[in-house]
């Protein structure tokens, strides 16, 4: 029995927004799990992008990621639920340094949903999986009575493989590391917000949803040599959430330089207008990397050579003073703190 009373006994939208409340929800769900990993691999308590199953007598291990996918609207500028599901799953595997092999797909549909719409989403899913060279190996389908679910949701499991000695973890940042972002931030969340009902903001802006495979392929050598200490796709909670996660798990501080962070003009304009903070807004095709400082420039130029990494930048570095905190050197030279976002970003008034 929980001792939650009144409103504290209710799950709110913010519990899924990648912030502090989500952390609380995950802890609530996982606190009584006792069997958490296989062969001392990475298990649920690490709360990383995925888990590992080390294979005895082999130099490799299996990497598994689990992901639920919901998006409103189902079709948004630059993508749809099917594309989002594959990209989210593949990117989670890559963020562990793994080569993606296969995906499973669970589709739950509301009664009355149109075959035509389903077909578009499934076609996108299949197309994107093929592009990622990913086998679709199992699946399940359920239908729920009208009104008990909104349209359609998907859930996937990603399976990949990696060498046991590759160590790319949230808890592995080293003082002196450089922080790289592979492209402009906030495109996905802002494109969604501007396409949602009622806002009528017309902006030439697309979601950044994309496979990070090309970047993974370019960085093969650096991954194998452990020059890349951590990788994370800043989805819910944006880079503010991811960086704070890193700082806490690695017991380091991170200093970000505002003038280096790539943000599109449209994203900036919409965020300023609505009082949103681009650092807290989701990306679906970007990665943050924490890399060995001596290799940073080389890694950056490799990322920049890919079609999805042209706008990559070194945006900050890892320190030891004031551990577990993330700081921002602002445009005008001031310093402030970047906090873990609390919940769903909501626009302010005037």
């Amino acid at each position: 029995m929980s001792d939650r009373k009144g409103s504290f006994n209710l799950i709110r939208l913010a519990h899924g927004a990648g912030g502090v409340l989500q952390e609380e929800l995950i802890n609530f769900i996982t606190k009584n799990i006792t069997f958490k990993n296989v062969n001392e691999g990475i298990g649920v308590e690490e709360l990383d992008d995925g888990a590992t199953i080390p294979l005895e007598d082999y130099d490799q291990e299996i990497v598994v990621s689990a992901d639920g996918h919901t998006v409103y609207p189902l079709f948004f500028p630059g993508g749809n639920l099917g594309i989002l599901s594959v990209c989210g799953t593949v990117n989670d595997l890559i963020m562990m340094g793994a080569k993606p092999l296969a995906i499973t797909s669970i589709i739950i549909i509301e009664e009355g949903f149109k075959f035509d719409t389903l077909e578009k989403i499934i076609n996108s899913f299949n197309f994107k999986a093929k592009e990622a060279n990913l086998a679709i190996i199992a699946g399940d389908t359920k239908i729920m009575p009208r009104g008990t679910l909104n349209e359609m949701i998907m859930a996937t499991t990603g399976i990949g493989i990696k060498d046991k000695n590759i160590k790319i973890l949230d808890s592995n940042l080293k003082p002196g590391d450089k922080i790289i972002i592979t492209g402009s931030i906030g495109d996905h969340g802002t494109a969604l917000i501007s396409s949602r009902e009622g806002l009528n903001i017309s902006a030439d802006l697309k979601s950044d949803v994309e496979l990070l495979t090309e970047i993974y392929n370019q960085l093969h050598q650096e991954i194998n040599n452990n020059y890349i200490h951590a990788m994370k796709d800043p989805t819910r909670g944006g880079i503010a959430g991811s960086l704070n996660d890193w700082a806490k798990k690695s017991n380091v501080s991170i200093m970000i330089e505002e003038e280096k962070v790539p943000i599109k003009r449209q994203v900036h304009a919409i965020c300023e207008m609505l009082g949103l903070d681009p650092y807290t807004i989701a990306c679906e095709g970007r990665a943050l990397l924490s890399v060995e400082s001596t290799k940073a420039e080389e890694i950056l130029s490799k990322i920049k050579s890919t079609s999805i990494g042209e706008k990559a930048e070194i945006i900050g570095e890892v320190g030891i003073e004031n551990p577990k905190k993330v700081f921002l050197k602002t445009l005008v030279g001031g310093t402030r703190f970047i906090d873990t976002p609390l919940g769903e970003p909501i626009p302010r008034i005037c």
Binding site: K260, H268, F337, I349, C350
Partner: protein, 364 residues
């Protein structure tokens, strides 16, 4: 990162030059110097760009009661909550408002319990919801200062649907400013006045106070260099013992303000002695809908009476923080019992609330 149109106002070289001039003047003044602004957006700019970290410690920048969400009395929120419990009723309001704790619960908690509470970006959206739901009562919970009043005034004036009404909790800034200036124990050397409000009401209402109370005043914009320049303009006045209202935000604020918006406010509303959360009743501190538009005034339409309400919960220091008597970290609940996840006082809720801004951008 390049932000169109803001190259000058966020330029580091200019910022350094202004900060150096501020330090220079400060040498010639008796310290500490206390400056107060009365706008949540100013506090947001100051904190977001780390401006305090650039300025000497003996120059204190205090945050006044400039967050419309924070100063809205609990009784008005209680009223919206009571109305929201009614069948076939949709309550619409601005985003931050739904999370503010009232006497018992917040609108967000009522929403989680199943009430139809919707966040809108403008009063026009509330009108649209009313037209789409002719069988439901759509109530717009209107809060804000002179900046948001013309928008809702415009809708009330232009034949809204009969199932639409407004809880009017608008507040007026000049009256609050006068109250703060007249509290001599605060020892404030100068004020930074809000550019947005001035855009509507012009310079005159502010000039009255700088003349009468001999306190310098600068109307400033919201980019970091706007605020820094505003501070420099205040310090120059302090040094030269001048007491004027100067306009740093002249690219937007016209001396006479926005006449059309003023006319709409005067047509639909009248000023009234009004309670501010944590501060008390302020003469001419708020707006009420004129009798002519009674049918759209939720107060008159539904006759909800809130007998007893609680603005400041036990232990909360919001009433002192709002008038610059305490910094958020001097409140014993700050960051311990009171956090943006579990706000106890109103200043911890809104992104314009002083406590919430300090929680996000500062680590003591």
């Amino acid at each position: 990162m390049e932000v169109p149109g803001t190259e000058i106002f966020r330029n580091k070289e200019y910022a350094i030059k202004i900060v150096n001039s501020i330090k220079q003047i400060l040498k010639e003044l008796e310290k500490p110097i206390k400056i107060m602004h009365v706008c949540g957006t100013h506090e947001h700019t100051i904190s977001k760009y780390g401006l305090r970290s650039l300025l000497p410690r003996e120059l204190e920048i205090l945050s006044g009661p400039g967050c419309p969400v924070c100063v809205c009395p609990a009784a008005d929120i209680d009223k919206a909550i009571e109305l929201g419990k009614r069948k076939d009723t949709i309550i619409t309001t601005f985003g931050d408002m739904i999370r503010v704790p009232a006497s018992n619960i917040s609108l967000a908690e009522l929403k989680a319990e199943g009430a139809d509470i919707r966040i809108v970006y403008s009063p026009y959206e509330a009108i649209r919801i009313a037209k789409e739901n002719p069988n439901k009562e759509v109530i717009f919970f209107a809060i804000g200062f002179e900046t948001t009043a013309p928008l809702i005034g415009y809708e009330i004036k232009n034949n809204p649907p009969s199932n639409f009404s407004v809880i009017c909790a608008h507040k007026l800034i000049p009256a609050a400013l006068e109250l703060l200036i007249s509290q001599s124990q605060l020892n404030i050397h100068g004020f930074i006045s809000p550019g947005h409000v001035s855009t509507i009401i012009g310079l005159k209402p502010f000039k009255l106070f700088s003349d009468a109370y001999k306190v310098p005043n600068v109307i400033a914009g919201f980019e970091p260099n706007d605020v820094l320049l505003g501070i420099l303009m205040l310090l120059k006045q302090i040094k030269e013992k001048k007491f004027e209202t100067l306009n740093e935000y002249s690219r937007v604020v016209k001396p006479e303000g926005n006449k059309i918006a003023q006319d709409i406010i005067n047509e639909v509303f009248e000023s009234i002695s009004s309670p501010w959360r944590g501060i008390g009743r302020i003469l001419d501190g708020g707006l009420v809908i004129r009798n002519k538009y009674n049918e759209f005034d939720a107060d008159k339409k539904f006759d909800i009476k809130i007998e007893k309400s609680q603005d400041i919960p036990p232990g909360c220091s919001c009433h002192l923080i709002m008038v610059g008597k305490l910094y958020p970290y001097q409140c014993k609940l700050f960051r311990k019992d009171c956090t943006p996840l579990n706000p106890i006082g109103p200043c911890m809720v809104s992104q314009e609330g002083t406590c919430s801004i300090y929680y996000n951008y500062y680590k003591e």
